[in-house]
């Protein structure tokens, strides 16, 4: 029972960070800021949510799979963030050079 309440809290908290990240995505003025909001908040949200779900998992196998999911999403979002940032920098440079 306690575990379930804890899990619920974690998931709700995770969802809050997701919402915050999304608001940041929508409200911030430029790509880098948006990226900042999104990666940071979503990373945290993802971790909290995974933790919450892991608490509810029935077996070690399920837990390990949730961990894997967290790992891969974290890595790929990091790479994506990097790629987008790179792209932004390059295109900014290209546009200043062009003009």
């Amino acid at each position: 029972m306690v575990i379930q309440i804890l899990a619920l809290l974690l998931i709700v908290l995770g969802a809050f960070f997701f919402v915050a990240g999304t608001i940041g995505l929508l409200r911030f003025p430029d790509t880098l800021c948006r990226l900042h909001a999104l990666t940071k908040a979503d990373g945290l949200g993802l971790g909290l949510t995974c933790l919450g779900i892991a608490l509810l998992a029935g077996s070690a196998g399920e837990v390990s799979r949730i961990v894997l999911i967290w790992f891969f999403v974290a890595v790929s979002s990091a790479v994506c963030g990097h790629l987008i940032a790179r792209h932004v920098r390059r295109s900014a440079r290209a546009s200043t050079e062009g003009s």
């Binding site: 891969f72 890595v75 790929s76 790479v79 990097h82 790629l83 790179r86 792209h87």
Partner: protein, 313 residues
Amino acid sequence: MTDPLLIFDVILGLAIVALAVAVLAMHDRFAMIVLFIVFGLLSALAWVRLSAPDVALAEAAIGTGLTGALLLTTLHHIRATPPAPVPVPAGAIIANLGLCGLIFGGLVVAFLSTPLQAPGLALPVAQNMEASGVAHPVTAVLLNFRAYDTLMEVVVLLAAIVAVWMVERGTAQAPSPVMGEIYRGFARLALPAIVIIGTYLLWVGAYAPGGAFQGGAVLAAVGLLLLLSRLYRPQPAHRPLARLGFVLGTAVFAGIALLVASGGRVPFEYPAAHAKTLILLIEGMVTISIAVTLAALFHGREPEYASVSENHK
């Protein structure tokens, strides 16, 4: 009405429809494709809600993921020319709106007047599961009961790569974005994991959601990673092998379908004792073909020697 999930369904349904409209209405082409990907993922979610996890997996991986990649790479090619604003006469829009509205209305009426309890083929499928050689009904339908359809589906895929290789030729390809070292490192890290997941999906298809198409799509992602990270560059010399990869699934599938027809059996009638082995063999080969083909479809044109490629003025 008591089920709160129904509210979720309604919201999901409305979101899907809204996204469909947004995809067509979005001015920016990149945003259009992104919205489409969101649309596809939400559709997959809806199909999970309809107890169709296999379909959801396939839609997410193939219908959305790979299709999205295809769309993006095409956009990358043609982005140089912004779409010429061709004004569509308002009359045509209104007429078509009316037409589609009518069609929508008619289909809704037909749909609502049809009770959603047609007997379907669930019962015959369940009765014949024993003899099918696999434990997962969708796989049984795909690889055994309606194996002919599935063979032809693989043929469609083959036709697609033949046509794509035919169509695109030695025109200068727009340079693909350079992804850099971090991406390459990520690719090195992710590749083995993706291979494992893809193979797992293929294997698990025998008794749980998954199978050749989902597995093949995931493995195709390997190809995309390799291509994008430049870890692999298609070479003209690799063409024979690639062709072999494209036709492998079709050839093995068709070959087995024909070869089992002996001793009074008809084509596609796998001997009961070997059904599972044969199906797995077919699935394995089809998975390879799907993976290779989808990756090749992403890459587009046939790798050619400079002398073969046409010289444009």
